[in-house]
């Protein structure tokens, strides 16, 4: 047993989750594969979205995977960093927009 929560080598074992629940695992991987195919959005655009979301959900495996995927697709580091900022902006915006709730509550409670 590794004595740390995240081991980079575990990413390679991702597929093994199907071993304990074959049907659900396979359905997930089929879906996953389909999502990232070329569609109305290009595979390249989806890769950048995935990278942004990976940062927002703070998944080190996904960050490794989609940084490499971006490199493979010839995506530049400037494009990758802008995608991360897009994710971060939405995440901080989501926090800040709750400020309105705070303001509403404050006003309601105040005379």
């Amino acid at each position: 047993m590794a004595n740390n929560y995240y081991d980079p080598a575990d990413l390679r074992k991702f597929g093994k989750i199907s071993e304990w629940s074959e049907e659900l695992g396979e359905k997930f991987f089929d879906y996953y594969g389909k999502v990232f195919e070329e569609g109305a959005l290009s595979a390249r655009e989806k890769s950048l979205i995935a990278l942004a979301v990976a940062h927002v959900v703070k998944c080190p495996y996904c960050i490794d995977a989609y940084t490499k995927d971006g490199l493979q697709r010839g995506i530049t580091k400037e494009e990758m960093m802008e995608a991360v900022h897009a994710g971060a902006a939405i995440e901080s915006g989501a926090t800040l927009v709750h400020g309105v709730q705070m303001m509403n509550k404050y006003n309601k409670l105040s005379m």
Binding site: R12, S42, A43, L71, Q72, R73
Partner: protein, 351 residues
């Protein structure tokens, strides 16, 4: 970035045996990853056998004006292995009889061989259908004596295949050295000027893309689209096809993988991307590779690993196509580089 070859640095990976040990040791020795041989056996393709010979590839020397970090040849200005006129003559004798329709000159920088132009002139007389020269582009700008190469290529209707790792400066220079990007752009412009790579031009100009790091190339068509758009918009440069080629874990690229602690992950990626459909068209099934000193190999990669063809005809002076074609191709784990994804050969995707 190193400015000398592994050989000049006395790096242990300059020894082919050391490289072969690494390729069959580690994760492949302890069974963590399957060997290439086992993968071929699974699909009834072991031993791997050649089909009809189509491409005759000649490495006219390991000298190069560049010292790219990923180079599988370990080429550089310090390499002195250069094909002599005598060996070239032996090659010409073979070319005039071969059934191959493509002649492919590579290096190093083939243009640095002092007899390069003579050889091209003579070989062109044989009337081969597709005559390729692999030019690294910067050589055209490296010295006045090379400035007229575009015209020279045009005169002999050479099909120019050039390496261009990325359409942005930063990435190209990191892999190939400072200034390589700007010089490559200038060279491409010169090639365009004489007609190379223009939309309907018969003067073929193709680009080769190798990933600049420990990752695999993705979809060749998408990369081609991106390259075409960027080179056209930013520099008004045209070219025909883009070949996306996987870096094989040998020589300087192997050294880089090990030094950057990426070797195991890279081998995992290659094995994971193994595509059985790519096996039928790997380069060695239709190519013979000749070294600067006339030895014969299944491919340029095996040449760099010192793995001569497993045939009693193993030198150009004894060339016999029939005997040679009746051989087993020598494989090891570096071959996974040819079967990853859509597959990869010097002509790009193979499936």
């Amino acid at each position: 970035m190193a400015t000398k070859s592994l050989k000049a640095r006395h790096n242990e990976l300059a020894e082919t045996n050391k490289q072969l040990d690494i390729l069959s040791g580690g994760v492949f020795a302890d069974g963590e990853l399957p060997r290439f041989k086992d993968k071929l056996s699974n699909i009834g393709q072991y031993p791997l056998r050649p089909k009809k010979l189509e491409i005759f590839q000649i490495n006219v020397g390991y000298m190069c004006n560049q010292v790219c970090e990923h180079c599988h040849v370990d080429a550089g200005p310090d390499r002195k292995e250069i094909m002599t006129k005598e060996t070239m003559q032996q090659c010409l004798d073979v070319i005039s009889h071969t059934g191959a329709h493509t002649l492919d000159l590579t290096g190093g920088a083939p243009e640095m061989n002092p007899n390069f132009r003579w050889f091209v002139e003579e070989a062109a007389k044989v009337g081969i259908k597709d005559f390729i020269v692999r030019s690294n582009l910067t050589i055209i700008m490296a010295n006045k004596k090379y400035n007229d190469l575009p015209d020279f290529f045009k005169e002999y209707n050479i099909h120019v295949v050039s390496s261009m790792p990325h359409y942005t400066r930063g990435k190209t220079d990191k892999q190939r050295g400072d200034g390589v990007f700007d010089k490559s752009i200038q060279a491409l412009k010169k090639l365009n000027e004489v007609g190379y790579g223009m939309p309907d031009s018969p003067l073929k100009l193709d680009l080769v893309y190798n990933p600049s790091g420990a990752f695999l190339p993705s979809d060749q068509a998408a990369m081609e689209r991106d390259f075409k758009k960027a080179l056209k918009e930013d520099f008004n440069i045209e070219f025909h096809n883009l070949f996306a080629i996987t870096n094989l874990p040998i020589s300087r690229f192997l050294d880089y993988l090990i030094a950057s602690d990426n070797y195991e992950d890279y081998m995992y990626s290659l094995v994971e991307a193994y595509n059985p459909a790519a096996v039928a068209n790997v380069m060695c099934t239709n190519t013979i590779s000749v070294s600067w000193d006339g030895w014969l190999f299944d491919c340029d990669f095996n040449q760099m690993l010192g793995l001569k063809v497993a045939s009693k005809v193993n030198h150009i002076k004894d060339y016999n196509e029939e005997v040679l074609n009746d051989r087993n191709i020598i494989i090891s784990q570096h071959c996974y580089g040819c079967t990853a994804g859509a597959g990869s050969s010097c002509q790009g995707t193979v499936t």
